[in-house]
């Protein structure tokens, strides 16, 4: 029997068992009869690409190390030639990939990655040869500018990924040197067209997932570095709006098959929301926010302040728009997490006007508890174990935070835990009774 029907059968068996069409034992007998699912062409292709890239990088680094062994014995002209050698070799490999191996993803990706590393190595070796003062920020800037066109010319996602991985570090260095981290935005625009086009060309592929992962992290880190310092305490609204927008990302056919590129955004968004909300369950956090709060933070100049506020408003509008879209698509379980930015704004305004931190603490404790319970309920309803576990993790994080919260007395914490535990037990009993009364339930 050919390989693809076997893979289809392996994919179908869990659904058939869950629907009661096939007994688990029969499914196991079918699996053992037809053998394991064959490796898919996509997995084989990915393996070839990974091996190609690793091989190219290791060969390149090995060449540099062998040449560096006798570096001190070499004359300056010889060192110069050796410094340029990786760059020339990388360019030849990339040129060959473009001319003769255009259809090979492995060739394009590995030659692109090798050439990016060769650019950095060549410039670094020339710096060592001529004792050039080190400035990591300008070094990375030069390497990024020389490398990013390769992503477009070779259609090499690894080049874009390396660019996105370095970009937040470079922006952070500009913040330390007071040159301004706003340069993050024009630099991000160099990679954005490639990443967006690649993602929408094949939204379900590994390339889309990887580009989305590094893009999401770079955008979040870069926004925080570039804009948050000018916002001071208003940065909490920025974080709330960004994580919410990330979490609410979805495509039209998500119900059938979520696009691979949405997963990094959702995971980062969900995790970010929980972390932020946990922090905001502490009264100390609200007292600090109230003490330092100002609508007009001390930005370096008016442009920086304007861009910071524009970022907040744009992200808030985006998260609100995505929430509306989710509601119209009848994804009602996204309403509670979608309200995070509004809750933050409301509580920030309340605490700055009244100096009372109790209400915001109660609001955010209720918010996280609702998130966790909603996730558990949704996961049970849709039979999605991952979502159930996520909900349990959320509740556990809240419980842990309150257990060690010295702002609450032992009695209050104890009573709250007893009430919450009783509620979970009651739900458990009711659920078991319902299952017991269901038609066809085992006695």
């Amino acid at each position: 029997m050919s390989k693809s029907p076997i893979a289809w059968l392996h994919a179908e068996l869990p659904g058939l068992v869950a629907a009661g069409v096939l007994a688990p034992e029969a499914a196991d007998r079918l699996r053992s009869h037809y053998g394991p699912a064959p490796e898919t062409p996509q997995r084989r292709g990915a393996a070839i690409i990974v091996c190609g890239v690793l091989g190219a990088l290791l060969i390149g680094l090995g060449i540099v190390l062998v040449l560096a062994h006798n570096w001190a014995e070499l004359t300056r002209p010889m060192r110069t030639v050796i410094a340029l050698a990786p760059l020339v070799i990388g360019q030849c490999a990339a040129g060959f990939a473009l001319v003769a191996r255009r259809g090979s993803v492995a060739w394009r990706e590995s030659s692109g990655a090798f050439l990016v590393c060769a650019i950095a190595v060549s410039i670094a070796l020339i710096g060592q040869t001529y004792h050039i003062p080190g400035n990591l920020e300008s070094f990375l800037f030069t390497c990024m500018l020389l490398a990013i066109p390769l992503a477009y010319l070779l259609d090499a996602s690894l080049v874009a990924i390396l660019f996105l991985a370095v970009l937040p570090f470079w922006a952070g260095m500009r913040l330390e040197s007071r040159d301004g981290a706003l340069a993050f935005f024009p630099m991000a625009l160099l990679a954005a067209p490639y990443a967006v086009a690649a993602v929408f060309r094949r939204p379900h592929g590994v390339k889309a997932f990887n580009l989305a992962l590094f893009g999401a992290v770079a955008l979040a880190a870069g926004l925080h570095i570039a804009v948050a310092p000018a916002l001071d305490e208003l940065g909490v609204i920025l974080v709330a709006a960004l994580t919410t927008a990330y979490y609410l990302v979805h495509t039209a056919d998500d119900a059938e098959r979520p696009a691979a590129w949405t997963w990094p955004f959702r995971l980062i968004g969900a995790g970010g929301q929980i972390v932020l909300a946990i922090i905001l369950t502490y009264g100390g956090a609200w007292r600090e926010l109230a003490r330092e709060f100002s609508l007009f933070p001390d930005a370096a100049d008016w442009l920086e302040g304007l861009i910071a506020w524009a970022a907040i408003l744009a992200l808030f509008a985006l998260s609100a728009g995505l929430l509306l879209r989710a509601v119209l698509a009848q994804r009602y379980w996204k309403i509670v997490p979608g309200l995070l930015p509004a809750l933050v704004i409301f509580c920030l305004a309340y605490v700055s006007l009244t100096d009372d931190d109790l209400l915001p603490v109660v609001v955010f404790n209720a918010f996280i508890l609702t998130l966790g319970i909603a996730a558990i309920a949704y996961g049970v309803q849709e039979n999605r174990l991952f979502v159930v576990n996520w909900g349990i993790l959320i509740v556990a994080a809240l419980v842990t935070a309150r257990f060690f919260d010295s702002d609450m007395s032992f009695v209050v914490r104890g009573v709250a835990f007893i009430v919450l535990g009783s509620a979970f037990l009651a739900v458990n009993v009711l659920w078991l009774r319902r299952k017991g009364n269901a038609p066809g339930a085992a006695t």
């Binding site: 300056r76 110069t80 473009l98 060549s122 710096g127 004792h131 390769l150």
Partner: protein
Amino acid sequence: MKSRALVLTAFAALVVVQLAVPASMIVKRESTLRTGERFLFKTAPIDPYDAFRGRYVWLSFEAATATISGETFESGQRIYASIATDDEGFAYFSTASAAPPDSGPYLAMKVSYTGVDDTVTLQWPLDRFYMDEHLAPEAERAYFEMNRADETETDVYAAVRIKNGFPVIENLFIDDVPIAEYVQREPPAE
């Protein structure tokens, strides 16, 4: 076919740019080393913990101030320091101004800060000397010990080639011996 030709043309242009950046670094510095004027600048004591970072020796120079005449400067501003030579043959900065001098050698630098007595403290554009990492520990020890003030008459200095205000380090010397040769000659410390 048209798009393929466009891609190959763009790649060829990128190759030229990628080679031009390191090549321009090399050409400028080789030109300075071959045709620039040679000056000897004494080095200054530095924190021994920071003396060596990886493969290079962290440099600090004694000549770090110059006289200014009425001009005001801000920290980080570009400044041009005129170079003079003392009786022992070591270089120092006599005056500094916002524009390159009409004649005589000079070095393009940045202002660190301005003093109250018409002097300006300068920020050197050179700060390191790369070395073989196997010689590094001894080089670090020798460089630090020989730079300690009032404890030795040994001169530690850097030979710097300068052309049109642009400097390139030629070598680092201890007692008129290149540092790499010096540490290989001296026995290791107990």
